[in-house]
Amino acid sequence: MHAQPLDLTRLWGEGWAITFAPRTPAFCLDAMGVDEPAPLPDGLAAFAQRTPFDGPPVLVAAAVLDERWSVVVESEAQTGWVGTHPDVLETLAAPEAPACTAFSDPNKVQVVFREYGSLVGGLEPRTNRRWGHFGDHTRQSLREAGFPDDYATPQHPVPAAPSEGALALLAAQAITRAELRAEHLKGPWLGGLTAKPYPTTP
């Protein structure tokens, strides 16, 4: 039984991305194109000082979840979410520990991930439409979290959640087996600006 995930749509609205990676915060930010990461004295409040159309470059921030996992958050996507770039996910993934990004814009909420040495996989948590590579371990993890194997139907629905954003976080946490809790959002964060472009090859 999985604990109810945070509802990031309620907390942050319809525009956000969150990446789970088995790497340190500094490594994550470097992979995402941040040249000069620095501690954010006010934590995630740094985002509130910006408008959603400030970027690029955009602000990204990373924090420690536990001894292995870090989390990276974004709120500006004028040029797309950096955490969804296939090369970023490839760099962040580690053996037996995929990198995974859940993101939301007004038109879609999706989860994309990359298992070590594999192509990108993705799903839309509300319908469970899937694409790309899903390893057996990932399929099983999602199954245990309550997701069906195929497109959701009334007979085989996705888990109940207060929003699709919460459902996306549930899926991301199932894929990575990391967990984001409210206290993580209040801890120390490392941040910086990036203008990394989307890679020209997947």
């Binding site: 609205g13 995630l44 409040a45 000082q49 408008t51 159309f53 996507a77 040029t79 038109n107 997947p202």
Partner: protein, 540 residues
């Protein structure tokens, strides 16, 4: 179930709502007499906007004092003294309410807003564009931006409007009856005003027309993004004052007469509050050293309508001269304008920034702009094709239907003006049923999957997007009531490169938040007119 409560606004605002086509707004709102057609100095403003009149009586004794003071200043070679009252205070005096009361339904208020929008010809900026414009302006004079916590200057509302905002907004369109809605949070207007001064005898009867003073009243209003309040600024435009009192009085009497400006709710309107006192200077001070006065116009969520507690407030600037020695027979008022406040809890700023209350100027056309040369180019190309040649888009209509009609896809704007039916935002959680239905139709038309797959068998996108490099783009957006599942409209799907779709989604977030586009609320009275609409324009 639609509520249909009544709230009150002024009889004049009701007249605006019900008969705007017949009544010019300054006729409808001015408390004073009809304008006179006297010749005088050339109007400072181009166009058909005619002056709003103020009539003031001056007692014979006060006139004598004024002229004596003028003579003293002339002899001493000094300028006329300033008005002997504070410029503006925090306390707000009770003023005589306008005569009569009238009820206006919420629906009628919405009609006012719609008619108000129709009379505006100057396209409104998206907040994104106007913010970036101001940012560029600011950066030409300052390079104080540092690090990654640059404060959004456009969101700042101080005790005066910023010069960059003034320069950007106060262009030709502001000198019109409707004023200019610069963006959803900013309104500005220039209004020519004429003040007629009469000498009155002890019984209060006019005995002599002393002269006429003309000027330009400037108004800037800014809606807050974190409270149900609008800040209204006003001043007399520097250098705009001219006197027609006779050569000596023009120099030594008329400039010393005080004038007060007073931002206020339209009379007798419930659920509208205003702060601060009138602001008073002499005409000479207004003309040579103008200061912005400001007032906050607010309404409460408790009286609001629907899920987001919508409530319009009608407001204006009154101008008059009132003291023991002067009596304003007919105060002037700027045309009534409207601001709409809401408490939409889902409008959330980045990571908790409080934007769950706000006030916007609804009388203009919100337009989202995508560029054919931007990072969202492929999406822009798709939308342009869907808007202009829907017959070439996927999904195809069934053969028998295609023989009878073309596809109809709404939402287009050209040059900032709507040329088709507008789009209504829906929210993934608040409008979950419609949102889910859009998703299922899109999946059926794009990927031949899900419960609607059979609906689009043989009609949908072929081939489906290559999910390693592409995504399925749909127009109208999934986040609109007119999206793929709409029974009233057709839609288009197309495979686009993933980064283009991601960029378009990111810009849509910024746009919805920047222009405070509220999500569809079927519980509002007259929902088609009351709910926010927006349009999409594709530019090079």
């Amino acid at each position: 179930m639609h509520r249909h409560r009544i709230f009150r606004i002024s009889r004049r605002a009701a007249a605006l709502a019900l008969g705007l086509a017949l009544l010019g707004p300054q006729y409808a709102v001015a408390d004073g007499p009809q304008r006179e057609g006297t010749a005088g100095a050339a109007p400072l403003l181009a166009g058909s906007l005619k002056p709003i009149n103020l009539e003031v009586g001056i007692s014979t004794e006060q006139l004598a004092k004024l002229r004596e003071r003028g003579k003293a200043a002339e002899r001493a070679g000094r300028p006329l003294p300033k008005a002997d009252v504070p410029f503006q205070t925090e306390s707000r005096p009770e003023r005589q309410p306008a005569a009569g009361r009238a009820d206006l339904t919420f629906t009628e208020a919405i009609e006012f807003i719609e008619q108000d929008a129709e009379r505006r010809k100057t396209p409104m900026n998206s907040r994104v564009d106007s913010y970036l414009g101001q940012q560029r302006t600011a950066r030409t004079t300052s390079s104080t931006e540092s690090g990654f916590t640059a404060q959004a200057t456009a969101a700042t509302i101080g005790e005066t409007p910023s010069q960059a905002l003034y320069d950007s907004c106060m262009t030709a369109g502001a000198a019109s009856e409707a004023g200019r809605v610069y963006d959803r949070f900013t309104f500005c207007q220039q209004v020519p005003i004429t003040a007629d001064y009469w000498e009155k005898d002890a019984a209060g009867n006019p005995v002599d027309h002393l002269g006429t003073t003309k000027a330009t009243l400037e108004v800037i209003a800014q809606g807050f993004e974190d409270q149900r309040t609008m800040r209204l600024f006003s001043q007399i435009k520097q250098g705009s004052v001219s006197y027609d009192w006779g050569w000596w009085d023009n120099i030594w009497t008329a400039p010393g007469v005080p004038l007060s400006l007073f931002g206020t709710c339209a009379p007798d309107q419930l659920d509208c509050g205003a702060s601060r006192s009138p602001a008073t200077l002499t005409w000479d001070n207004w003309n040579n050293n103008p200061s912005w006065a400001y007032w906050d116009i607010s309404n409460s969520a408790a009286a609001g309508y629907g899920r987001d507690k919508l409530m319009p407030s009608f407001w204006r600037v009154e101008f008059f001269t009132e003291s023991d020695e002067f009596s304003t027979d007919a105060p002037g008022t700027s045309p009534v304008q409207v601001v709409r406040c809401d408490s939409a809890a889902y409008i959330v700023g980045p990571f908790g920034a409080d934007r769950s209350h706000g006030c916007v100027f609804p009388g203009a056309t919100p337009v989202l702009t995508y560029s054919l040369s931007g990072t969202e180019a492929a999406v822009a190309q798709h939308i342009l094709g869907a808007q202009t040649h829907p017959e070439y888009t996927y999904p195809r209509l069934p053969a028998e239907e295609e023989a009878q009609r073309d596809k109809r896809i709404p939402g287009q704007a050209i040059n900032g003006q709507p040329v088709h039916y507008g789009l209504h935002r829906i929210h993934s959680t608040l409008n979950a049923t419609d949102y889910q239905a859009n998703r299922e139709h899109k999946d059926g038309a794009c990927y031949s999957t899900g419960p609607q797959a059979s609906t689009y068998a043989g009609l949908g996108l072929n081939p489906a997007p290559d999910t390693s490099t592409q995504q399925c783009d749909e127009y109208p957006f999934a986040s609109t009531l007119e999206g793929a599942a709409s029974p009233d409209w057709d839609f288009s799907v197309q495979a686009v490169p993933t980064p283009d779709n991601a960029s378009a989604g990111g810009k849509l977030i910024a746009y919805y938040n920047a222009d405070r586009i509220l999500a569809w609320d079927a519980s509002l009275p007259y929902p088609d007119g009351t709910n926010d609409r927006f349009w999409v324009e594709i530019v090079d």
